[in-house]
Structures are given as C-alpha cells and as structure tokens.
Amino acid sequence: MFRLNAEYILLVILTLIMALLPVVGIGWYTLHVLFLFFVYLALANMWNLLAGYSGLVSLGQPAFMGIAGYTLAMLLWFFDTPLYIAIPAACAAATAFAAVLSIPLFRMRGFYFSIGTLLLNEICRVWFNWWRPIPVPGAPVGGGAGFGIRSGLSPISIYYLALAVGIASIILMRFILGSKLGAGLMAIRDNERAAATCGIDIFRCKLYSFLIATFFTGLAACVFYLFQGHIEPTGAFSISWLNVMLMAVIIGGISTEEGPIVGSAIVVLLSQLLPRYAEYSPLILGVLLTLIITFTPPGIIGMMRKTRLYNAMLKYLSKPIT
C-alpha cells in the first residue's frame, strides 16, 4: 500500500540532484566522496537490517562482499560475461554461500553467532590467499594474487550504479519493514519465544533477512570493485569493511531507518578528513565511538528522536498527501 508523502518527494528531489551533479560538471573528488557514501549507505542499511531489526549481529559480511567481488572479477576475467549477468551472478554466489553457511551459523545465537561469523572473514582470506596464482603470460594474476576487473564502464556510469544501489537500499528497507517479514523480525527481536507462540517461523524469518542482506551487501561490493578495478584477498575480506558498517549504523542510530543515512555521511566525511591526521585517527575514532556509546547508545538519530522538533518534522514528512 503506497501513499505519497513528503518523505518520498524529498527522496526523489535529492536523488535527482545527485544524478545531475556529474552533468553540471562537479569535481572528481566530490564525485568520489559521493560514490563512497552510496556504497557505504547500502552496506550500512543491510547491516542495520541484520543487527538492528533481525537480532543477527553478523560480523561476517566482509566475507560475502569478497565472495561477490571475486565472482564478479572471475566472470569478467575468464568469460567476458556481460555486466548485467555478472553482477546478479556475483550477488547470487554470495547469497548461495550464505545460505549454505546459515545451516551451521544459525545453530549459534547472540554472541556466539557474532564470533562464528567474524571468523568467516579470516577463513576466506586465508583460503583465497592460498589459492596459487594461475600463470597468465605477462602478469601475476589469479587467485591469491588477485584479479584485475575490466568492466569498460566510465567512472560516471559507476557513480550512477552506486547512486542506484544506495537509493534502492533505502527503498528496500522501507519495503521490508512494512512487510510481513519486517513485522516478524521486529517481533523476534523483541522476544523470540513470544514470537514463536504467535506462529512466526523464527528460523525462516532470520534466514530470509540474512539472505536479502547478503545479496544487497554483495551488490554494493560489486559496485565498489567495478570502481576499484582490482581485487585481492587481504582487501576483499578485510574487517575494515566491518568498521564502515558498524560505525555508520552505531553512530547514526541502530534500529532506525534514518540512522544509516546520517551515519554513512559521517563515516565518509571522517574517512576523508582523518587521513590528514593519520597518527591520531585511531584515537579520534575511538573517542568518538566511546562518546556515542556512553552518552547516546541509540546513536545520533536516537538522540534527536527525543526532541520535539525532530518528531514534529518526522510527523510532517510522513503525513500522506492526498
């Protein structure tokens, strides 16, 4: 049931502005920052779906990003697969991998699930690192040495891809939260046992959420690797991706729809500002996270939701226009 409201109009206007930016000749640097923002936004939204709405604090999303990235790279490298097949195939490969792993992973709950998923990243990194390079005349490519990714896309087309994926992730979240699955997930998050007695199939709800989040995380990874142009194990399975997702969601506000948007913007800005103070950047990040968790555990949005002005704004924005 779709009802037009100021929120959607705002979303369309902002999207159009973002889409017009390359046309009016904005600088490459700004475009690059915006590109990162949209990739981070998709990653953060999906992590929020897992940790904020499904109670699945998965720390293994980088592993699925790496699997998607590697699948994409290999399809392009070996088979010259067209992108419109290679990208869905890469996301499907990551999702299939997640589906198989969900059998052992879902036997664990809470912290155990988090630790189990965290190990995936390292297992994949070692596994891919040990993959001996396939000799190709001229260059040490393949397996552990990595692949180049030649898509033939212009940077501006890749920017548009990122824009589409980022905006799609916002719409997807709205759609899921309004769906039967979303209602089930929120009930499970509040009280698993009570949810079961309502007839909610807990395993199935969590599995669907896990698979949807993995598919979209893989999609964001594909867009990122198309831009980066190469992939190798240490970067692909790096837990620094986890930093991005966790920080964006926690700083912005977990279990809120707006949180990841605000959080991703902050994380992108930090990632651009902090390298100038390289020796202090871990300190600055650490202090920032500590402050957020100490003073406003529900994040910036959680803090703002306590103010009357913000709630009035939300109410105004979500009022249906007839």
Partner: protein
C-alpha cells in the same frame, strides 16, 4: 465425556538434560471446556504448556490435537493448527505498538485472512486496547499488558487457548476482570487450558482440573469435587 478429546497428552515425559521435569503425564481437554492445571512452583506446569506449543519436545509419549500428532511439529505449525499460548510473564513486544503486537498475533496465513474480524473481537473484549492502540506496549500497565498478551493470542483465532499464570503479579480486581474475559472467550467457543498457582480461582472457573506435583499428575477430576481435597493441600505444601 463424549467423542474424541480436542487435545490429548499420552504418558508424556519431558527432560531438561538429565532432570525429568514432567513424568508420564496424561491428560485430555474436550471441546468447549475450561480445564485447569494446578500445581506449586516447579511442578512442571509451564513445561507441559511449552510442550503442547512445541517449544520443548517430549522424550516419551505423544501429544495429539484434533486427532493429529503434534509433538514433533514446530511451534509455528502448531499455531497454524489452532493452538495459541499466552506465555508466563506476558512477554509482549515492548518496542512495538499495541496494534502492531496484535497484528503479530495474526501472523499465520489462516489468521491473516480473518484478522480484521479478530481485531474487532479483541477490541470488543478489551476496549482499553483500542484506546491505546498507538501506544508502545512497554508503556502499558501490568494488567493492560496481560490483556494485550491475551488479545495477541486470540488474534490467531485459536481453537485451543493456553493460559500460563495470567494472574501472576496482578491485583485481585484486575485478576477478576481477566477471568471474566476468559469466561466470555470460552462461551464464544474457544476451549481453554489454564495453568494457575491460584487454586481457588482456577477451580472456580474450570469444569475439570488436574493437579500436578513434582512433574506427575497426582489427582484429577471435576473442579467442584476437588475443592476440599486434602491432596491439593499436600500437592502444595508437601508431606
């Protein structure tokens, strides 16, 4: 009692690890009845309820609902068959609104089809829930939360409603109100199995009762005959 019972437990035993929580329990609930299961703390009442719902699985024995074995099924499948539980300690979804809580109760496809009707029935039964429908469930009073928990369980339009200690921690006035509502739910055609520590209250409302002591049924019969039985006292205070 004529015909087949709606729910039948046949020599059910349930273990938690090595500990036997429920030993060889058999009981039947016939359509249209209110049956109470009485016992002291730790007698295994909640375990029996959880076993019927498929939240724990019995090691021995069988649970039969409408002639079909349900002790191997998942909870969600059992709910679809028409069994619903109001869990001990209410367990409402505190960050969801009252309305969303009720909608979560109508999750199974069978329930979704008739949720508007059921919502009307629940609001009719507990008008306060309609007044508070947009409020977060965590902000309700204890009695209102219990009404919400009962309402949520009713949303799946169950044939058999299981009530686990609904009077726990509530004032006598609220308890009386809830029991009136339960009588009404029963008179509208829902069979009820009730677990209580409050013996007098549950004997008053039920037609039959089973007395559970340390996981075994020590006594059963018509509630009106049980009121003065010494066994009830011994089930509570031990010998």
């Amino acid at each position: 009692m004529p015909g087949e019972p709606l729910l039948k437990l046949e020599s059910v035993s349930i273990y938690y690890g090595n500990f036997c929580a429920v030993k060889n329990v058999s009981l039947s609930v016939y359509e249209g009845e209110i049956v109470s299961l009485i016992g002291a703390n730790g007698a295994g009442k909640t375990t029996v309820m959880n076993a019927i719902m498929g939240l724990v699985h019995p090691a021995k024995g069988s649970i039969i609902f409408e002639g079909k074995r349900i002790d191997k099924l998942d909870t969600s499948q059992i709910v679809s068959l028409g069994v619903s539980l109001v869990p001990e300690g209410r367990r409402i979804f505190s960050t969801l609104t009252v309305y969303e809580n009720l909608m979560a109760g109508a999750y199974t496809p069978r329930a979704r089809a008739q949720r508007e009707q059921m919502l009307k029935r629940v609001y009719d039964l507990f008008p306060i829930l309609q007044e508070r429908s947009k409020q977060l469930a965590g902000t309700l009073s204890g009695g209102e939360q219990q009404m919400l928990a009962i309402g949520r369980a009713l949303m799946s339009n169950p044939k058999l409603l299981l009530l686990d200690e609904i009077s726990l921690g509530l004032s006598p006035i609220v308890t009386l109100k809830l029991y009136d509502a339960i009588r009404r739910i029963n008179s509208e055609g829902t069979t009820i199995l009730l677990v209580e520590q409050n013996v007098r209250q549950s004997l008053k409302i039920s037609s039959r009762a089973y007395i559970l002591k340390s996981g075994e049924i020590v006594l059963s019969g018509y509630s009106k005959d049980l009121k003065d039985e010494e066994e009830i006292k011994s089930a509570y205070f031990g010998v």
